[in-house]
């Protein structure tokens, strides 16, 4: 999938150079743009880039797609440190605290954004707040992509757990949730819920942090101090997760793709997953709807991150190119309805409030997530695809597999985190 998306992007780019390039080659600015979107959303991104290129004959954006996670962030940091970064790049909002203080990325000029018709009023409060660092705006959110629940309406209907509006009935406690999953299991004869996690710290963290935040508590990481965390809430969340993997409610051991495949072929009624899997589910041809993860501990919360535009630090700033970047980014924001088709909730509010977006299902059924999203606790080592999430997996996987006590797994992770916090801060 990655390979073909890359190839497709390359061919498209080559084709465009072939037909439009010659006449105006001299005046066209080349804008380098790095991103890490290689799945179905990579194809959408390429379409948005093509649209922006066509609308703006003055510049041409050349995307470079790199593998998600550590490979991407390693290269972006190296390129910025070495003074040869792209003009603009995508970064998870949760990774900005690791880049902004060290000067690897530069703040956005709000006046220049306003000239292009984008202001702070165009973003939901939680998302705009996340873009700030020390009073400056370092990232412009293209979207928020929360961790949600997909469900098979066919299975849910047969299990009798649909409400009168055709959507899944509300549950508000761990036991109610499990009872609902068991009803669905009776229909599928396999599992009620699909959730693959083996070997993926990101995946374990997404569900854990959703449940943890539902307790209405916070988590703080301040270098030089032990982490501030509600241990009881953390252990309770882990215990609940472990209790799901009993081979009836959900498979005891499976990786992400196994979980997705199981749900896509109707082997379960529900799937906990990032919204970006929506295109996969639609292609699978199952009757799918979606909602935010049920509030099981009192406070609505949903783990999320945002794909955001950042400006890597340039050794020699080319003002013209910078202006083109602002135009490009604001054009993409305004055209992000197609981004919503890939499952993401657009960050740009005029799109979210448009009639066209309201007609997108199931996107509209989880659009409320933007108001309850919880980003990773901020520190130089946290965020999507960070080593910290790997350390989470190292200490927690055995809990989920039923080989270790939740309290022991949590304490080991907390200790690992405290070690990181006690080390010198490299940013």
């Amino acid at each position: 999938m990655t390979g073909s998306a890359l190839l497709g992007g390359g061919l498209l780019a080559a084709g465009l150079t072939g037909c439009g390039g010659a006449a105006q080659a001299a005046a066209v600015q080349d804008i380098g743009f790095w991103h890490l979107l290689s799945g179905g959303d990579g194809i959408k991104m390429q379409a948005m880039i093509n649209a922006a290129n066509q609308a703006n004959p003055g510049f041409k954006v050349h995307p470079t797609v790199l593998a998600w996670g550590p490979p991407y962030y390693t290269k972006l940091a190296m390129a910025s440190a070495g003074g040869r970064p792209p003009e603009v790049a995508i970064m998870h909002a949760s990774r900005v605290p690791g880049y902004a203080p060290g000067g690897l990325i530069e703040p956005w000029d709000l006046d220049l954004l306003a000239e292009n018709g984008v202001t702070s009023a165009d973003f939901a409060p939680r998302i705009w707040e996340k873009s700030q660092h020390n009073g400056q705006v370092f990232s412009i959110a293209l979207d928020s992509h929360p961790f949600v629940m997909f469900y098979n309406t066919d299975v849910a209907g047969k299990a009798g757990v649909l409400g009168s509006n055709g959507q899944l009935q509300e549950v508000s406690s761990p036991d109610e949730f499990k009872a609902m999953a068991l009803e669905m299991q009776k229909v599928t004869k396999a599992h009620g819920l699909s959730f693959g996690y083996l070997g993926s710290g990101s995946q374990m963290w997404r569900l854990f942090y959703t449940l943890y935040k539902q307790h209405g508590v916070d988590m703080e990481l301040t270098p030089g101090q032990p982490m501030k965390v509600d241990r009881e809430a953390a252990v309770e969340s882990l215990e609940f997760m472990a209790s799901l993997f009993d081979d009836t409610i959900a498979a005891q051991a499976g990786d992400i793709s196994t979980g997705i495949a199981e749900f896509a072929r109707g082997g379960s009624g529900m799937l906990f997953s990032g919204v970006w899997e929506l295109p996969t589910m639609k292609k699978a041809g199952i009757p799918v709807d979606a909602a935010t993860i049920p509030t099981l501990y009192g406070t609505p919360a949903s783990y999320a991150d945002s794909h955001s535009f950042v400006l890597p630090r340039q050794l020699k700033l080319n003002e013209d190119k910078r202006r083109d970047v602002y135009k490009f980014v604001t054009d993409v924001l305004k055209g992000s309805l197609s981004w919503a088709e890939a499952g993401h909730i657009p960050g740009y509010q005029p799109v979210v409030q448009s009639q066209a977006y309201r007609e997108l299902t199931p996107q509209i059924h989880y659009a409320n997530a933007a108001d309850i999203i919880a980003y990773d606790p901020e520190s130089w080592f946290s965020g999507s695809g960070s080593d910290w999430q790997t350390y989470f997996a190292e200490n927690v996987q055995n809990v989920l597999l039923g080989r270790d006590k939740a309290a022991a797994g949590w304490d080991a992770f907390e200790q690992r985190t405290n070690t990181l916090l006690s080390r010198p801060n490299p940013v």
């Binding site: 550590p70 060290g102 070997g199 080593d387 997996a393 190292e394 996987q397 490299p426 940013v427």
Partner: protein
Amino acid sequence: MSTSTLSRPRPETLRKPTSRTRSNLSGWGFAAPFLVFFLVFLVWPILYGFYMSLTGKSLTGANDSLIGFANYAEALADADMWRSLGNTLYFTVISTVPLVLVALIMAALLNIGLPAQWLWRLSYFAPYLLASTVVSLFFTWMYNPQLGLINEFLTGIGLPRVAWLNDPNVAMWAIVIATLWWTVGFNFLLYLAAMQNIPAQHYEAASLDGAGAWRQFFSITLPQLTPTTVMIVLLQILASLKIFDQVYQMTAGGPGGSTRPVVQYIFETGFTGYRLGYSAAISYIFFGLIVVISVMQFVITRRRSA
């Protein structure tokens, strides 16, 4: 050995000094292309890396002042460094033994005189030519708990499924098996070449004296192979200590850090964790360990051959 040659007068000393300088110059000229690379890409990075290990240098450019040996002190108290170092040593031990033994057995079997020698040689050596990424992909699929060939086979003969790359107790062995398949061909080729150099008369004489095949193997073949074995063990230990590719691609150090080698930990602290100075310090600790192992080997083998 070298002392005796030095004490003898050399013919060059009789030549005129001018011609010697000239031939020296042309000698340096011929060596220059290598020398430049050697200095720029090996000597300089080693020196600069050591300097880095004494600083707080980070990828983001923050705080690159000299901090003495603080990085080393921190590393020696870092449980994750010790754990990854332990993983590397564990891998070295459990991979070197089969990589030497299996190579020897394969070479000995082939040397008995099987038909279609070229086919055996090719099939044993061919995996060695593959890139590590290809090998990792092969084995990731074969080890897949649900769809993998190996578990399919195991369940076929009534054995339970094994979570090869997801079980902390098994993962390292799974890596060793993949590595064995991948690189055993090289050692095999060295052994085979050495075996074919043992004069046939030795075996003739032995069989006239009534020595059987086993006796011949242990009393002729093995002793004659000693220099080869020493070299193979040495090369293999150094190769195994460098373990990174397969692990990074197959388990990324998991599950639970049970396969993370020290080279991966160096990569993680330096590049994804930004702390270049600290990761340089771990590299030098690892470097020191390799030097110690090499010197130990050198001493042992020299004592043997003396």
